[in-house]
Symmetry: C2
Subunit: 332 residues, 2 copies
């Protein structure tokens, strides 16, 4: 196993130390492993938090800051965080207007967030939860009952974070998050596996000429293994199932998110994005916004995913709103 | 070879098409392969351009925009751009105040930028050039007479771009660029090779337990191959040669740039950054600014580099100034 780490047990703890050094504007609770926006809790503002296993950086910790998440709790690599962490994050961002939990649909995440929400509510904090399940690849999976939560999570965190920043109440931010999930669809693929540090060997094996279509962000099996093919064909194999699952009328607007699984470099992502653009043009879909880069990764896995979000004006406005986090920054 | 591409001959052209789709604020000349800031030429402003082989994305095209580069010319993968491209970029950004060429020290880049500068000057454009050669690993290299230009290039582009945006004249921006180069030092390492699309096989071979210390961004040989070791030891093997080459007095300030070669994920970069912070603390060096991420890459190569820039107040101010490019964005 070739990785820039020290002990395999220290990966998350030490990455958090590095993150604290690199981003002194964040507050990091090292004991419970919670990353909190520096000025939290913001009085009167809905808190928005997320969390999940590590190994998907910059998600979620890199999205903590003004206009996006108020806190994130990273579990060990590919392992759900504990209810303790989630409760601490909830308390740390509670400004009296309630807290939204954005939860990716993996069994451990869902159960632990449910427990944390109950504990927080017992402490008098108003908590709402939205489970993101945008991955069209498979109905159930090794870590999931129902669809997995993947790329739409990033979009939900940005859009709901902006709505909370704008002063919207918990019910409004929650409804918006449900809408992003309802209108977001994703599909991913892998050219190579990744290696979880504690395991020390690749999560799965792929032949030299094979790729896995419909891969999960933890290397969970997808739909099938196929021969490696062109970017144009890969784009089609990702976009077609998305549009089959949530059809678009001609002229409808989409946010298109082309994401690297970690090891696929930007030059290839732009080639893939170009192919996605051509396919969507054939369907008459207007690409109103885009995001291209490594935002929800799977350690060093080579591969990519495509997320389409059917946009309305409200979502577009919140997407454009200012954001100031380690991984996404724009606006004044 | 597993890559998200179509034909190996079309990699750069198609990536530029994708980039144009993703970033409509940029103007892209597809015939000559030049990426230009949308509002160029800015009258009365010094133009700042760079260029070099592709495969190092986001460098340089991802740094085109307000407060950084006015244009970039990408060559084929790991291949110098032509004088034609550089001349076109120079003309496209000439606002009457002259143009600075920021050139990484590789033989082809240097020769072609020299020729482009002569041609531009014959057309009445005032051109200055600064050659970046910050890599302390080796004195000469397969592509270089003298030291290679690596991470300091990113910092020079940001700092000089900000100075040009602030209205400084060509002599001032040029002197600043020379100063960044004089005060910047880098060293890199690789855990794995990368594969140039046109070659179809890895540039070099590394054993399962080997890493290469002092690697170049095209896979050029470094100082030596050593057994894979901890992030702490890797940090020391990168930082010690940098400080031996340009010593710091206690209390001096540095910008610390920890860069992924492409395939190394962010979670590992933060671990490495944390180790670099500890080492610099032992030397009494104050980390005034930092940058952690994949900014000057080598396709999908796993590995990292460290760049230290000895900061003065002027550089710090230009570093902090607003920037609005695909890959670096901050400020108003």
């Amino acid at each position: 196993m070739k990785k820039l780490i020290n002990g395999t047990d220290d990966v998350v703890a030490e990455a958090l130390q590095g993150m604290e050094q690199a981003h002194p504007e964040l507050k990091i609770n090292h004991e419970l492993k919670v990353i909190v926006r520096g000025d939290a809790p913001v009085q009167g503002k809905v808190g928005v938090i997320s969390g999940g296993g590590s190994g998907h950086e910059p998600m979620h910790g890199g999205f903590v800051g003004r206009g996006m998440l108020d806190a994130a709790c990273p579990g060990e690599v590919f392992t759900s965080p504990t209810p303790d962490q989630m409760l601490e994050a909830t308390k740390a961002v509670d400004g009296g207007a309630g807290v939204l939990h954005i939860v990716k649909n993996y069994t451990g995440d869902v159960l632990n967030f449910e427990m944390a929400a109950e504990l927080a509510q017992a402490d008098g904090i108003d908590v709402a939860s939205v489970v993101i399940d945008d991955d069209v690849a498979v109905q159930d999976s090794s870590f999931t009952a129902g669809r997995r939560g993947v790329g739409a999570t990033v979009l939900a965190e940005k859009i709901c974070g902006a709505a909370a920043e704008a002063g919207k109440d918990l019910a409004t931010v929650t409804e918006l998050c449900e809408r992003v999930n309802a209108q977001g669809r994703s599909m991913g693929m892998a050219l190579t596996s990744c290696t979880v540090p504690a395991a020390g060997k690749p999560t799965f094996e792929l032949g030299d000429d094979e790729m896995e279509i419909g891969i999960g962000i933890h290397g969970e099996p997808g739909r099938e293994r196929r021969p490696v093919t062109t970017a144009a064909e890969v784009a089609k194999q990702l976009v077609d199932p998305i549009l089959a699952d949530l059809p678009y009328e001609r002229g409808e607007k989409a946010l298109v998110f082309v994401n690297s699984m970690g090891g696929t470099p930007l030059i290839e992502l732009y080639i893939l994005y170009n192919e996605v653009v051509k396919l969507l043009a054939e369907h008459g879909i207007e690409i109103a916004r885009n995001l291209v880069g490594p935002y929800i990764t799977s350690l060093e896995m080579q591969g990519a995913s495509v997320t389409l979000l059917k946009l309305d004006d409200e979502m577009t406005g919140y997407w454009d709103a200012a954001v100031e986090t380690p991984a996404l920054r724009w606006g004044a």
